[in-house]
């Protein structure tokens, strides 16, 4: 490869996870590289958690990232809007509340006094779980109640499920499917049921505000590839799944079992729509829970969909507002 | 006979081979006698004392006390080591009480006995002092009190005053002579200092270089208290010194070898118990 200077580089972060399908496939088959052409060299950075990606962007080491909504909101709010923008959606759906089949949980009320795991405090599923539990009328342990939300790394959730130390978990896919297949779990609630049209954002693309200002052309090229990938995946999900799993195996050493992949895939949708309404809802919930500081978050300006809409227009697709 | 040493010899096995500290030695010591051992460095004086104390086993031969063979350490034979070997984690008073505690003397009695012996060595005011707060001479006196408190029949003293300055040494010589006159213990006393041996001993036994054997005995019949600077002492000492020097030169040449050997001995010595 030719020695490209810092300026001629696009550094993209994503997770080896099915919710980041466009990134995984796009890097694997060279779609992004082709779209950027000689303009800039691509640099893939693999993360396994949203806050780490935000840290990297804060530190000026990441230009673009596939990421969940709440880390993006955190980053936006903590930097007072200075650090980043959301420029497109990636995935909708794909989060479930799984209960242990033998925990005797038949109705929502049975969750009283139980331990419910989430992947990370303040992350998308954590906020959703807390908001939902409070809506069911439970008092959480922090508020002096007896129902407890336990932020736990996903692999540990699997272990603790097997050891029957937690009773339920609000997790993203494919962990939902894995809990069902590998740890005697039962889907209790598909988060899609909670949102209008069953749509809510699970992953979207953020860009560092500085990079967007300085290199809009590169961002546009990247988005064009992203939209193209989205369409391709939706057109032929079977082959997309295959490519996706091959890439996951390459990055983590282990493919997902077919059954798990199929189940998980069925509960999510690949889209370039960032589903603004769900993000605002999620942010409100996070604020209510005290994760976003003392003042209600001001998310005006977190979206910058100009480039996305320009790309869509070029492809004769309807714009997103 | 209070103490009978019968054909005792000792051979050390170390990685470098074996080393015979002394050839069969025979020696009788009467009750209440004060015997001094002199001999070149490394000839086996400490080893012999350890064997008598029961802290070391002879390779051959046996030691009898009042006719009974010594097989292990016993509080009727107490050793006083060169550098006092007080326990730094105990204060002076507790050091003196240590042995009494070990042999099961009741607490109130312990206190009384310990105080008595501290008074005897003129350290009553220092009973609460820590060991490191004492001068070398004071330490030796505590060690003597600690040993006497057990009321042993036999005191074994291994160069107890070797590290002291001359003045302190003189004072302790007087005190030791006084204590011995009062208590009439049997004392075996190892030293490198010929005049010291002459001042203290009823009998001075000169050992040869390794493997040690008894080279000559001197009976010292000078009246007590003897003074280290009296002509009589200096005269006797000169005769003994002359005898010693023959060997000392031989052993001097051996210094380098000895240093190495002693380092090894330290290593081996680690698992004493």
């Amino acid at each position: 490869a030719n020695q490209s200077s810092d300026a001629a580089r696009v550094r993209v972060g994503y997770f080896p996870n099915i919710t980041h399908a466009q990134a995984l496939i796009g890097f694997a088959d060279g779609t992004f590289a082709r779209a950027l052409g000689d303009d800039a060299k691509l640099d893939a950075k693999i993360f396994n958690a949203g806050p780490a990606a935000i840290e990297a962007m804060f530190a000026g080491q990441l230009d673009l990232a596939y990421i969940g909504p709440n880390p993006a909101i955190n980053g936006y709010v903590k930097s007072k809007g200075a650090a980043l923008r959301i420029i497109a959606g990636a995935t909708s759906g794909g989060a479930v509340l799984v209960v242990r089949a033998d925990a005797g949980i038949a109705s929502a009320q049975d969750l009283r006094g139980k331990k419910i795991a989430t992947p990370q405090i303040g992350n998308t599923q954590d906020v959703a779980a807390r908001a939902w539990l409070i809506k069911q009328g439970f008092k959480l342990k922090e508020q002096g109640g007896d129902t407890q939300v336990v932020p736990t790394a996903n692999p540990d959730i699997l272990t603790l499920f097997r050891k029957k130390e937690i009773d339920a978990a609000w997790v993203p896919e494919p962990w939902g499917a894995r809990l069902v297949h590998e740890a005697n779990g039962k889907i209790f609630l598909d988060e899609r049921e909670l949102w209008t049209d069953g749509k809510f954002v699970t992953a979207h693309i953020i860009v560092s505000a500085k990079f967007l200002r300085e290199h809009p052309a590169r961002v546009e090229k990247f988005l064009s590839a992203h939209v193209e990938l989205t369409q391709r995946i939706n057109a032929d999900p079977a082959s997309a799944k295959q490519k996706l799993n091959a890439e996951i195996e390459r990055l983590t050493g282990k493919p997902l079992p077919t059954q798990v992949l199929d189940d998980a895939w069925a509960r999510q949708a690949i889209t370039y729509d960032p589903i603004r309404a769900s993000l605002i809802g999620s942010a409100d919930a996070a604020f209510q829970l005290g994760f976003l500081g003392d003042a209600p978050p001001n998310l005006d300006g977190i979206y910058d969909l100009t480039l996305l809409n320009r790309v869509l227009q070029a492809k004769n697709l309807p714009a997103i507002k | 006979m209070k103490l009978e040493i019968r054909g005792v010899s000792k051979t050390f096995q170390s990685k470098r081979g074996s080393l015979t500290a002394f050839d069969p030695i025979d020696l009788d010591i009467r009750e209440g006698e004060f015997v001094c051992l002199l001999g070149p460095s490394g000839c086996g004086k400490s080893t012999l004392l350890n064997i008598i104390a029961g802290l070391d086993k002879p390779t051959r031969g046996e030691v009898r006390v009042d006719g009974r063979v010594v097989t292990r350490a016993g509080t009727e034979r107490v050793m006083i080591f060169q550098n006092a070997a007080l326990f730094p984690w105990l204060n002076v008073f507790d050091n003196v009480k240590f042995g009494l505690n070990m042999i099961g003397v009741a607490k109130p009695e312990r206190q009384i006995v310990a105080r008595r012996y501290l008074q005897m060595v003129h350290l009553a005011e220092f009973e609460r002092a820590f060991v490191h707060e004492l001068s070398g001479g004071m330490k030796q006196r505590v060690a003597i009190a600690r040993a006497l408190a057990l009321n042993p029949d036999i005191l074994l003293m291994d160069e107890p005053f070797g590290a002291l300055d001359a003045q302190t040494r003189d004072v302790l010589h007087d005190e030791l002579q006084a204590i011995w006159s009062n208590t009439r213990k049997t004392i075996v006393f190892v030293t490198h200092n010929v005049r010291e041996a002459v001042v203290l001993g009823d009998r001075v036994i000169v050992l040869s270089a390794r493997p040690a054997r008894i080279k000559q005995e001197f009976v010292i019949d000078l009246p007590r208290l003897r003074q280290i600077e009296s002509y009589a002492v200096v005269d006797r000492a000169r005769a003994i010194s002359a005898l010693l020097k023959e060997d000392t030169h031989a052993s001097q040449r051996d210094v380098a070898a000895n240093v190495l050997h002693e380092l090894e001995a330290q290593m081996v010595g680690d698992d004493v118990l």
């Binding site: 992350n123 736990t152 | 820590f130």
Partner: protein, 257 residues
């Protein structure tokens, strides 16, 4: 006189340090989300103590630390004693201890979570694995380095059996054991923080609070918790070890340092 001057110098130094930090933060060379300011940190501290989370965090971590350290100290001294006195044990278990000591205790966390689950035991296990071995090794070394002269003197004065262990061998090794305890404590503290940073738990210690700060990209919280951790580290060191060490040094007459 001298001491007052020292304290004054220290205060001036730290006030200047904080002022410089505030100036740097206010100068805007780095945004607040990267370089938190003293004022922001102070506010976070105030809020955290007001709503109780910091107090609970401190209490939770301290409790874990003390329990883990107590276990390590007790077991470590006994094991060290055994290794120091029993040759066969030293040659076998001793080698194992040496090997495990080379393993940062945080590496046990994945297994600990598997074995003990969400209970306190998993974190406790990591803490104990952090402190136990260094206390064991220090005790063993202390016992092996005890001048044989003390043993001879003790036997010579009639010491036998457990009295020899309790009244001579252990006291003789005490300075080394205390050094080991201090080291063990410092390993325990480090292990606890790493374990709390890495593991989920039902009650939140300081490490969890730090990790939440990170997860929420809230650097004020991160720095506030760091200050709490430093404070506790210093206080335990001063309150627990300094007096103990001073007493032993005084007894043994080990230099004034």
């Amino acid at each position: 006189m001298l001491d007052q001057k020292n304290i004054a110098r220290k205060i001036i130094f730290f006030v200047a340090l904080i002022a410089a930090w505030q100036l740097l933060a206010a100068s805007g060379i780095a945004p607040e989300y990267i370089f938190p300011s003293p004022v922001g940190v102070a506010q976070t501290l105030a809020r955290g103590f007001a709503n109780g989370t910091f107090l609970i965090g401190v209490a939770t971590s301290l409790q874990r630390l003390l329990v883990g350290f107590a276990i390590s100290a007790g077991a470590g001294v006994l094991l060290g004693l055994a290794l120091g006195r029993i040759k066969l044990l030293d040659e076998t278990v001793g080698a194992l201890v040496l090997g495990l000591q080379a393993l940062p205790s945080i590496c046990w966390l994945p297994l600990a979570v598997l074995w003990f689950g969400l209970s306190e035991s998993a974190i406790l296990f990591v803490v104990v694995m952090g402190a136990l071995l260094s206390i064991t090794l220090a005790t063993e070394a202390g016992i092996k380095n005890t001048p044989p002269l003390y043993l001879r003197a003790a036997r010579n004065l009639g010491a036998r059996g457990w009295k020899l262990y309790a009244l001579v061998i252990l006291p003789a090794a005490l300075p080394a054991i205390i050094t080991g305890m201090k080291l063990g404590w410092s390993f325990a503290w480090r292990s606890l923080m790493a374990a709390e940073l890495l593991s989920a738990s039902l009650s939140w210690g300081l490490g969890h609070l730090l990790s939440f700060g990170r997860d929420l990209n809230d650097m004020n919280q991160v720095v506030a918790v760091m200050l709490l951790i430093i404070a506790i580290g210093l206080v335990v060191d001063r309150a627990l070890f300094a007096p103990l060490e001073a007493r032993v040094r005084e007894r043994w007459g080990l230099g004034a340092q």
